[in-house]
């Protein structure tokens, strides 16, 4: 029933659905490894998607749009960082408000503007793209290949760089890290900038690489799936990426199976990622892996 063609289709679809998640998840992963449970990732992605389309339309260059999207995400990260790690407003409150704000603002702006659609170019590698099953890996919008840089970069940053060592330290014991001379809140703000940049890029990828235009609330909860992926991956990059793939794959299956001749109840399948994330949290999210100070604000003198 299912031959290589069908598998190829699903693989290709999974990849495309995973990519926006994976970009944002790299950022979210790093933010969480620095101790921020950043729920404004949805807002970062949505802002990034909007920014990219707006700028791509204005400049006519989807690539510039992509960059602009990342910068919009960065700005959201900057605001989040300053609100929650400078003046110490509860990070979840900040996240909620930022999500609401970005959704409101982008809906407002899209209601009064017209944008041309722009899409970045496809980059396919002749020869390789014809390999069955993994062929689609080599026939993608070019920003997808950025992931090949960003994933190892994120890993390197967290696990090998001085900065990452500092981030891991402040996520686990900010008090001790502070005494050692690390600027805890500053580092967390920096981590949020990275998260914003990549989440914005994820949204921009969705808008300018996959879709080509902006719809109201076009991220439609993908940011929350990203958070679920980090938990699913038990705060490890490998696991997080697998989480993104699993969620992307689930969506791909849902969207592709009817074409392959399977009848299935799609309504309940829409809920699959949420269910899987909840299950994963119950099964694998071993507390010992969770950064100990995750989501807890740091104020010098309070333990």
């Amino acid at each position: 029933m299912i031959g290589t063609d069908e598998i190829t289709t699903i693989v290709a679809s999974s990849l495309r659905l995973t990519a926006p998640l994976a970009f944002a998840a790299c950022g979210e992963y790093l933010a969480e490894r620095a101790g921020t449970q950043n729920i404004s990732v949805e807002g970062m992605m949505l802002g990034g998607a909007f920014g990219s389309v707006a700028v791509a339309s204005a400049t006519g260059s989807a690539t510039t749009g992509l960059l602009a999207g990342a910068i919009v995400g960065l700005v959201v990260g900057f605001v989040h960082g300053n609100l929650s790690h400078r003046i110490q407003i509860n990070t979840f409150v900040v996240g909620l408000v930022l999500n609401a704000f970005v959704l409101g603002l982008t809906s407002f702006l899209i209601a009064i503007s017209e944008f041309d659609s722009n899409q970045v170019a496809q980059l396919s590698i002749p020869g390789l793209r014809d390999i069955p099953i993994i062929g689609p890996l080599f026939e993608q919008r070019w920003p997808m290949y950025l992931l090949l840089l960003i994933i190892p970069l994120t890993w390197w940053l967290v696990e090998r760089s001085r900065w990452g060592l500092n981030l891991r330290a402040i996520a686990d014991n900010p008090q001790a890290a502070d005494v050692t001379g690390l600027k805890v809140n500053k580092l967390r703000r920096q981590a949020l900038l990275y998260a914003g940049l990549l989440s914005g890029l994820g949204g921009a990828y969705l808008a300018t690489a996959e879709v080509g235009s902006f719809n109201m609330n076009m991220t439609a909860g993908r940011g929350f799936i990203v958070i679920a992926a980090v938990i699913f991956g038990a705060w490890r990059l490998k696991g997080t990426m697998i989480g993104c793939l699993v969620f992307g794959f689930a969506d791909a299956l849902r969207l592709a199976l009817p074409a392959l001749g399977f009848e299935l109840n799609s309504q309940l399948l829409v809920a699959a990622p949420y269910l899987m994330a909840l299950l994963a949290m119950m099964l694998f999210a071993s507390k010992s892996r969770e950064p100990r100070a995750l989501g807890k604000p740091f104020v010098r003198g309070i333990t």
Partner: protein, 387 residues
């Protein structure tokens, strides 16, 4: 030396002369900034701020009809906010109200449409069923948290999306909630049948005269009861203790899984009740979009009210006014999403100043721990050790 050791006196700062005035001033300034920023946005995008403000005013409080709409919108907001007050106080941060509202409405609809009992009884039962459904839904997050250490913020959020899918599914299934077709060849829409008038919540007054729904009366009663309970009851005391210092609470005999779980379930129950009230007081049929952001906005109301039920009343009214006013914005050509922007900015305007004042006073006494706020502290839980 200890007796004479001078600590910066927080109570002193809190008095109207110090901290309070400062916070009030910054808050007013922040609100002004929020409003000005929104109006700048309006004019920058080619709208007229004056018209927009006028529309908001006319739509929300200019006459009895406007007030009716405002009160109607404020009702579920207040109910959701009351629930959020409970969970926030207990230090468990429920952010899944949107789904709980919808699920409450769905179960209430099921009861209202399927029970063959006298109308008033059915109405009461359906409200109860809505509350219980919301409570069980958020209670599930509590079970996941206390049983398997699943983060409450994340699980309530995910459960919320799950609820939306479940309800969207239920309204497409005839044996669950989908309305029967009017005739064999007509299209069945994805919603439930209308509630018969006998099972709807009665109210006072008839639109466009001032209309006060039974749901509003109910929520005001609940506000007062909750305010008294939080301030004066054993339960309220223990809840506060749990939120402010879970360890000390445990030492004092508060069972966090029980008290915190209960608080979470109760907050869900209030959200579910809000859904049931929307259903049987306003919309009269279950639709997948019935929750209409009441869950999210209700949570924001509680945040602005700093988890105090009485303070939630005016804030819910304000947000209700925004909702009713927003539909008048359309005539000015300004997209009504403006209201979402203003609301988000307003939350910041209310949340930032106290923290800012605190930071400033910390600047004076560098590491004096700031007073905890009634705003949800980050969910902290007593260290658990395997049994």
């Amino acid at each position: 030396m200890s007796e004479k050791r001078k600590f910066p006196n927080v109570a002193e700062l809190m008095r109207p002369s110090g901290y309070g005035v400062q916070v009030t001033l910054i808050t007013i300034a922040a609100i002004a900034v929020a409003v000005v920023a929104s109006m700048v946005l309006v004019s920058a995008t080619g709208g007229s701020p004056g018209d927009a403000l006028d529309a908001l005013y006319t739509g929300s409080i200019a006459d009895t009809a406007a007030w009716s709409e405002t009160l109607k919108a404020a009702t579920p907001l207040l109910l959701v906010a009351l629930g959020a007050c409970i969970s926030n106080r207990a230090g468990v941060f429920n952010i899944g109200q949107e789904g709980q509202v919808l699920l409450g409405a769905a179960v209430a609809a099921y009861v209202a449409l399927h029970l063959a009992l006298p109308g008033t009884l059915v109405m009461i039962l359906s409200l109860l069923a809505g509350a219980i459904a919301g409570g069980l839904w958020s209670g599930a997050s509590a079970v996941m948290h206390y049983g398997r250490n699943v983060n409450i913020v994340v699980s309530t959020l995910l459960m919320s999306f799950l609820a939306i899918q479940v309800v969207s599914f239920a309204v497409t299934v005839p044996w669950l909630l989908q309305a029967p077709r009017a005739s064999a060849d007509s299209i069945a829409s994805s919603e439930s049948a209308q509630l018969p008038p006998s099972v709807r919540i009665p109210g006072f007054g008839e639109y466009p005269a001032l209309e006060i729904g039974g749901g509003l009366v109910l929520s005001i009663i609940l506000t007062i009861v909750l305010a008294v309970l939080l301030a004066r009851s054993r339960w309220g005391f223990r809840l506060n203790m749990l939120g402010l210092n879970p360890m000390a609470a445990r030492h004092a005999g508060v069972r966090a899984p029980f008290a915190g779980g209960m608080a979470l379930a109760l907050s869900g129950a209030f959200a579910g009740l809000a859904g049931a009230v929307i259903l049987s007081g306003q919309v009269f049929r279950l639709q997948p979009a019935l929750s209409n952001n009441f869950g999210w906005d209700g949570l924001l109301v509680a945040l602005i009210a700093r988890s105090r039920p009485l303070a939630a009343v005016p804030v819910a009214l304000l947000f209700g006014a925004f909702r009713s006013g927003s539909s008048f914005l359309a005539s000015t050509g300004v997209p009504n999403y403006l209201v979402d922007i203003v609301q988000a900015l307003l939350v910041l305007a209310f949340v930032v100043p106290p923290v800012l004042a605190k930071v400033k006073s910390r600047g004076r006494a560098e590491a004096t721990p700031p007073p905890a706020e009634p705003v949800p502290s980050t969910p902290t839980e007593p260290e658990k050790v395997t049994a």
